[in-house]
């Protein structure tokens, strides 16, 4: 299973974290610190898998962002590497040429999408279309709610004028 997903920039700034196994806040900080120390200095020609503290970390760099996933040592690391790519492809489709800024300002969207791809540390859906459909439905719900709220507050505003 995937124990956690970590996104950080080349400068080591965390952009997204998702934990599927219990880690205390202190442990989380330690993991992030240690892992960025391990992964960032690795050259571009080196392997995408790092054995670290009895588990395996699969990482891939996209532009200035590092996507890391931590899996059990007996898990299939190539499969995991492609989960990362699968997720990036979905982000790319959703944002349209995704860049780091998209993930900074819409970090909650990145979380929503991740939740549709992974649950409980396992791949939930391998169809990009299917994920896109679900996210679109979510957005539609949010928009509808917002409009409703806006019209409600308009009515209230007019009524109390």
């Amino acid at each position: 299973m995937i124990h956690f997903v970590l996104l950080f920039s080349r400068q080591g700034k965390v952009r997204l974290t998702k934990w599927y196994s219990p880690y205390s806040q202190k442990e989380r900080a330690k993991v992030i610190r240690e892992l960025s120390g391990v992964i960032l200095p690795r050259g571009p020609k080196l392997c995408n898998f790092v054995e670290w503290r009895g588990v395996k970390v699969v990482y891939k760099r996209y532009a200035s962002l590092y996507f890391c996933m931590c899996i059990d040592s007996e898990d299939n690391e190539l499969e995991c590497l492609e989960i990362i790519h699968h997720y990036v492809q979905i982000l790319d489709r959703y944002f349209g040429n995704v860049c780091e800024l998209d993930l900074i300002f819409n970090f909650h969207k990145a979380y929503f999408i991740l939740d549709e791809v992974l649950i409980a540390g396992e791949l939930q859906e391998s169809s990009k279309k299917s994920v896109a459909r679900v996210i679109a439905a979510q957005d539609a719900l949010v928009d509808a709610a917002k409009e409703q709220a806006a019209s409600l507050s308009n009515i209230i505003a007019q009524a109390t004028r």
Partner: protein, 932 residues
């Protein structure tokens, strides 16, 4: 794409991003937190929008790594908010919660009316709950429901269900057999791309993730019985293995190889059951894997080393091991020890011939001496000692290595040991006379550690003692070395130097003490054990274990056959070694019996013990699997313990036939009664052998307890099935044989330990009832196990005064029984003495003034304690076919059983049946009475 409408949040994120340093960022975050706190506290009427905004801000702050210790209630409140927009966040756990939630989730998962979206989430939710609390799926018929779920067509739902199944199967593989055929169908559907929607293909590959997961599940079911399912799985594997090629697109490559590797490990598991064709397809990748050994990335190098280790078999062992040896010189330090260990193991496991094995290990030591653990060279010594054909070759090779300019210390140790033991085998070769060998070894002496020095001293005395005829020049040199080290700082070296100096003065009578080492008992390679221990990784551990169970080391098999052959052509080595033991025992007993037998100084006796003990101790201690006494200090008890019990008596005249003939045409390759009789006299050997199976036995005895290990070795290339072995114990023994595995893989060996406890004296023996199926016929036999009375006897040296006192106190039947035995196998008093001593009945010479009588004492051990038994045999020098036997002990039944047991050993049963006339012989009692 900015977050429309949530300006406050965007501004906050921008602010944080614009902070110049950590301090500024902290100030900004603290300010925001204070703001949110007051908002939550004071303004009761927050709009849903505001609530949401603040929670998002808190979440962002939390993600940055700051502690957020409030606001949890507000978050939870959001979850229960009526509108979807506010409901998006949240997650809860806890056992009670999972219990109450599980049934609902299960319902969602099973119901076909639910949308796929909900069902796949339900599957993974259940997985999450299962990890927390395994009871959630402990419901009647859950595996049937899982099987039903696998009929699902939607790939997304299948993927989620398969994740759940992997977890369930990992914890309880037996419970989900009904899912296997469904899984094979799924993987078949995927690899054939049948009915796979476009959106579920990844770079043209039908959901690689589902393929990987399905094969993961199947890995827990290595043996599939249904031939049709097996066949389709085999086809699928073949398609994957043959169809995977390296392509340009990285992602496609990765995905297809993820599938390939998973297939490979599944294939590895099923290899035993499938045709060997597939192996060829892995070997196609061998060159690639070997190249990866030189990859710049260490994790890749490690991986390829593991893979090479895993894929090695008899056909490619030579290539792979040579490749590893070559790589050893350039490999980086982090990996070398593991590399050396693995090369050593592979060399041992798959050696095409034994000399090659010795070559490999010596090369290994030469190239990476620092990384060769002691276990590796101990194993070579063990191996060479147990294989006589190898001894001369090994000694010669070791000698050649010593000629090289820089020799690693480990090499000095191996060479020193081998040359000490076996250099006399080379004496005729040019440059290999003892006189030439000694300086070659001694050249290295000044530069080695003290432990090696001690070892070399032993080698010297052995070389000296083995050089026949004696060489005065060599003796002078060696003695001067011993003399020099008599004052050495290290106690071990000093002691050896002094002892050897004295011993070498004794001349040829000491040759036996310096004889070659006896063969080692078979044992699991310490290396394999070590490899198991060092494999930290749980999955690999299990894989290694599986391999171990499937393929036992060739070395053990070789040793086995040797001991089997040992009976047909007695090896000079074994006779010499038993001589060594007897001498050792003799010294011990004499020193204990007292001053009347002081023809050998007691001091010398002590020395011999310490010598034998520490030579054996040196080698045995680190190798032993059982806790062999590791102490080098030579107290008499530890000196004796590591030695095997001495052989018990000559050929048993009572030929015990197999109780029940074989129920089939498969015949044993020898006489089962001969094997049984031989085993009554020694503690290990062959009990039964036919073209398919070899059953060996190894026993250890201590007081009333014994441990017999039964080795069932499959000699054939086909697995033996329905293996059954039951021990039928007689009433006087308590023994329990743990269940024997039903299947013995080809060329594998199974060990079954059997603990024995003696309850009281009896001559009956347990019976091993075993049978197996060799895929054609069922073979079965009933075999007597050599758990005879003498195994529970221990010699009891006794003084004359004690003997007489006890003998008198036990007057008449039933505690003292006397019988005139006729039809005795004629033998001399000295032969009979030897026979008694072999049965652990300790003869005290000189105690009876009549030289034609034997007086002996032994202790019989049973659960209730030790019973001292006294034996007296009166013979008639005029007629050696009869004698009078008297046995006395404090326990009537022990007296009777021991008397009958001794009688059985003395009487030649054939002579009784052949000459019934001797039974009618009259007057022996009178004649014997006259002799007293």
């Amino acid at each position: 794409m900015a977050l429309s409408g949530m300006r406050g949040l965007s501004v906050f994120i921008s602010d944080v991003r614009n902070c110049q340093n950590k301090e500024q960022e902290r100030l900004r975050v603290d300010k925001e937190l204070a703001n949110i706190r007051t908002k939550f506290k004071h303004e009761k009427g927050l709009t849903p929008y505001e609530k949401k905004k603040y929670v998002w801000k808190m979440l962002y702050i939390y993600m940055l790594g700051y502690d957020v210790d409030f606001g949890h209630m507000e978050t939870v409140a959001l979850i229960s908010a009526p509108k979807y927009a506010e409901k998006q966040v949240g997650n809860v756990g806890g056992k009670e919660f999972s219990e109450s939630l599980a049934p609902d989730v299960q319902k969602l998962l099973i119901s076909s009316s639910c949308r796929p979206l909900v069902r796949k989430k339900a599957a993974l939710c259940l997985l999450r709950l299962y990890r927390k609390n395994a009871d959630v799926v402990n419901v009647e018929g859950w595996s049937d429901r899982m099987a039903q779920l696998l009929d699902e067509r939607d790939i997304g739902v299948l993927t989620a269900v398969m994740s759940l199944l992997v977890s369930l199967v990992a914890n309880n593989p037996d419970g989900y057999w009904n899912c296997v055929s469904k899984c094979v169908k799924i993987i078949e559907r995927l690899t054939r791309s049948q009915d796979i929607p476009q959106e579920y293909t990844y770079y043209g590959i039908p959901s690689p993730w589902l393929q990987v997961k399905t094969m993961r599940v199947l890995q827990y079911f290595p043996s599939i019985e249904d031939p049709n399912i097996r066949k389709s799985l085999f086809e699928v594997l073949q398609r994957i293995l043959m169809g995977t090629d390296v392509v340009k697109n990285v992602n496609k490559n990765n995905a297809s190889h993820a599938v390939l590797f998973e297939a490979l490990s599944l294939e590895n598991m099923t290899r035993m059951l499938l045709v060997a064709d597939v192996q060829e397809s892995i070997k196609r990748h061998q060159a690639q894997i070997i190249t990866s050994l030189k990859d710049p990335d260490i994790s890749i190098r490690r991986r390829s080393l593991d893979l090479l280790y895993g894929m090695c078999d008899v056909t490619n062992a030579k290539d792979i091991v040579e490749e590893l040896l070559q790589y050893l010189t350039t490999a980086d330090f982090a990996i070398r020890e593991e590399l050396a260990l693995k090369a050593a193991i592979l060399a041992e496991k798959f050696a095409p011939d034994l000399s090659w094995y010795v070559d490999v290990i010596l090369q290994l030591i030469e190239k990476a001496g620092d990384f060769v653990s002691d276990d590796i060279w101990y194993r070579v010594v063990q191996f060479v000692t147990n294989n006589e054909d190898l001894q001369a070759y090994a000694a010669a090779t070791a000698r050649d290595y010593l000629d090289k300019p820089a020799v690693h210390e480990t090499m000095v140790k191996v060479a020193g040991y081998l040359l000490g033991e076996y250099s006399h085998l080379l004496a005729r070769r040019p440059g290999c006379s003892p006189r030439e060998i000694f300086p070659i070894i001694h050249d290295k002496f000044p530069n080695v550690a003290t432990s090696t020095k001690a070892l070399l001293l032993s080698a010297y005395i052995k070389i000296l003692m083995h050089s026949q005829p004696g060489d005065p020049e060599l003796q002078k040199q060696v003695l001067s070395v011993f003399k020099k080290y008599e004052t050495y700082l290290d106690a071990e070296v000093q002691q050896r130097a002094i002892e050897y100096f004295v011993l070498s003065q004794k001349g040829p009578s000491m040759v036996d003490i310096m004889a070659e080492m006896p063969k080692f008992p078979e044992r699991q390679s310490a290396l394999l054990k070590k490899a198991e221990d060092t494999d930290g990784d749980a999955a690999e551990l299990s894989a290694t274990k599986l391999r171990l169970q499937q393929q036992t080391s060739n070395a053990v098999v070789v040793v086995n056959q040797h001991s089997a052959n040992g009976t047909s052509h007695p090896a000079p080595l074994s006779s010499v070694s038993s001589g060594t033991r007897n001498i050792d025992r003799g010294f011990l007993e004499q020193s204990q019996v007292g001053p009347q037998h002081n023809d050998v100084p007691v001091k010398a006796a002590g020395m011999v013990q310490s010598l034998t003990a520490d030579l054996l101790g040196d080698l045995l201690a680190p190798l032993a699997i059982e806790a062999a006494p590791a102490s080098v200090a030579a107290t008499p008890t530890t000196a004796i313990l590591p030695l095997e019990e001495p052989p018990v008596g000559p050929a048993d005249p009572l030929a015990l036939a197999v109780l029940d003939g074989n129920s089939s045409s498969v015949q044993p390759v020898g006489s089962t009664s001969d094997w049984f009789n031989a085993l009554c006299k020694k503690d290990s050997g062959v009990l039964y052998e036919d073209p398919f199976i070899q059953i060996g036995i190894k026993g250890e005895w201590r007081g009333p307890q014994g441990r017999v290990v039964i080795f069932l070795g499959n000699k054939h290339t086909v697995a033996l099935t329905s293996v059954r072995a039951i021990v039928l114990p007689p009433s006087h023994l308590r023994m329990q044989l743990p269940p024997v595995p039903e299947l013995i893989p080809p060329r594998a060996q199974v060990q079954c330990p059997l603990d024995v406890l003696s309850l009281h004296a009896s001559r009956e023996v347990p019976v091993l009832d075993f049978s197996y199926n060799n895929s054609a016929v069922t073979v079965g036999s009933k075999l007597r196990l050599p758990v005879v009375m003498s195994k529970f006897l221990q010699p009891a040296p006794i003084s004359s005064a004690d003997f007489v006192a006890i003998w008198r106190s036990l007057a008449g039947p039933p505690n003292k029984l006397q019988e005139v035995v006729r039809g005795v196998n004629p033998m001399l008093i000295s032969e009979m003495t030897e026979l008694f001593n072999m049965f652990h009945i300790c003869v005290s010479p000189g105690l009876d003034p009549n030289p034609n009588n034997i007086v002996a004492a032994t202790t019989f051990f049973s659960e209730s304690g030790a019973t001292l038994c006294l034996v007296r045999v009166e013979t008639d020098p005029a007629d050696r076919t009869q004698l009078r036997l008297t046995v006395a002990s404090t326990d009537a039944s022990t007296t009777f059983e021991l008397k009958e047991y001794i009688k059985e050993q003395l009487v030649d049963i054939s002579s009784i049946t052949a000459n019934p006339a001797t039974l009618g012989f009259t007057g022996p009692a009178a004649a014997l009475a006259g002799l007293l």
